[in-house]
């Protein structure tokens, strides 16, 4: 996703300096006019805005706060914008660490996946001071079609957690609905035509259920990444003394799916974990 998003900045007229942990991922951007720096710190030395998009919260810490991290190279007044889905509490501590050097931080996770990144139709959920968000807005609007400042540091990450909580139980709904339909011997395309337009409709039903019917379990979004996101959401919920049984159950089903070796499948593969609970394969035999 990062490459596609960076390309929009380049096309939009910004000078772009990049650093990637896997150098081969940089080739396309370098060919398109970006320059290379060996570390995030070296990127930061020559940049006003530094965007990061990595994997886990520990990667965010390394890339921003580590020995070669962006904060070490950042000048007073620079802005570090972390677009990784990560912990709200980390967004706050990053901002505090950076403030000691007069550096600004925004948390700006996205939803919309590979397709949204390529078509610049991401939803970008931003946390941080309004004037810093305004300064970076021209960049955000090159990458996303829905850009909303959600509040102060961490509010972008919290909003992304809401997004993932919504997806989690909606995916359980979709998987159970399809499983019931198949087990009852219904024609799944016909069922979708009846249920999609109404109160049972969702983005998942419109976009992922047809992939399940086409036996396409390629990742729009990896199970492994979703498990990471849900574990952050559960941890935050616990901190807030919030009991979320749907999220808990969905996270467990996705962990079961991961345990079954499907971590690199797309989230729509959840139907395998649900079928497995009843000792069935997908598609199941008709009852």
């Amino acid at each position: 996703m990062g490459a596609a998003m960076a390309r929009h900045l380049l096309s939009g007229g910004f000078e772009l300096c990049i650093s990637t942990r896997s150098p081969e991922k940089a080739q396309g951007l370098l060919a398109a006019g970006a320059t290379w720096a060996g570390t995030p710190a070296l990127v930061a030395e020559q940049s006003d805005f530094v965007f990061s998009m990595v994997g886990f919260p520990s990667d965010v810490e390394e890339v921003l706060l580590g020995q070669n991290g962006a904060l070490h190279g950042a000048s007073r007044g620079a802005v570090l914008i972390d677009m990784t889905t990560s912990k709200p509490s980390l967004a706050i501590s990053l901002a505090e660490a950076a403030a000691l050097q007069g550096v600004h931080v925004l948390d700006a996770p996205v939803s919309g996946g590979d397709i949204g990144a390529r078509s610049a139709s991401l939803s970008i959920m931003v946390g941080g001071p309004a004037e810093v968000v305004a300064a970076v807005a021209p960049c955000f609007s090159l990458m996303g079609s829905t850009v909303v400042r959600q509040g102060d540091h961490g509010a972008g990450q919290h909003t992304k957690m809401v997004n993932q909580i919504l997806i989690a139980s909606t995916m359980v709904a979709m998987s159970e609905g399809l499983l019931y339909a198949a087990r009852a011997g219904l024609n799944l395309e016909s069922v979708l035509s009846s249920v999609s337009p109404g109160a049972a409709g969702s983005w998942a039903i419109s976009n992922l259920a047809p992939r399940v019917l086409a036996d396409n379990f390629q990742p729009g979004f990896f199970v492994d990444h979703f498990v990471k996101d849900l574990s952050i959401a559960l941890e935050e919920a616990k901190t807030m003394e919030l009991v979320l049984p749907g999220l808990t159950q969905a996270a467990q089903l996705y962990e079961a799916l991961q345990a079954q070796g499907r971590g690199l499948d797309g989230t729509q593969a959840l139907i395998f974990a649900l079928a497995d609970l009843s000792g069935l394969s997908w598609p199941p035999s008709v009852a």
Copy 2:
């Protein structure tokens, strides 16, 4: 809903004879030109097509098979169309009982609620022989905008169960997402603007979440009716040896809500049951 649907048949040029268990509900239709019959059997004596829409499966049995039920008055070749959300197995046994008299039966539950009934935009999910569905199609198209034959007897009811299974966990998703957002101190309108257009989006998020934010828990669809539907879905799942943990959990949360005296609220009231699990009210204090 039945009154609004019947009115479309009348406006569409059909002669309409009605029987209602609560006579006052008939007044509007009688004023508009319908005629009255004292019992479903008397309706059936003068009708080619007999539509029923009542509450529970036991009501369906009474209205169709009981002493004064429609089957007792129906002529050979008549069609009984049950639009109640009811058991797939009952749809099959009704069809078998009617076939002994040369009477046809269709199961044709709907989704879309009061609004869909009034605006003739219901989704009608039909089970029964294709030629019988074709004969009744002119009536269905006056009442709904999506009319799909899903298969033989019971397939309409099974499809409606899929619809309710999808709604059940999607409502859990919505309630938990809103609860998390409020507890994290986010602005809920802003959160909805970020999450609604993307992969977390659903009919519920677009239509019911704004009602929660407006403190509107009036029923589009009653909790009591939803509990009935989910209990039918669970019973059918058990018959098919299908384990559906999301549905099970959602049904229990809705039963808790009912136990809290909210059976006549709309389904969006689920957020109270979820807040209650954490000892919180809605909206909750910020953590």
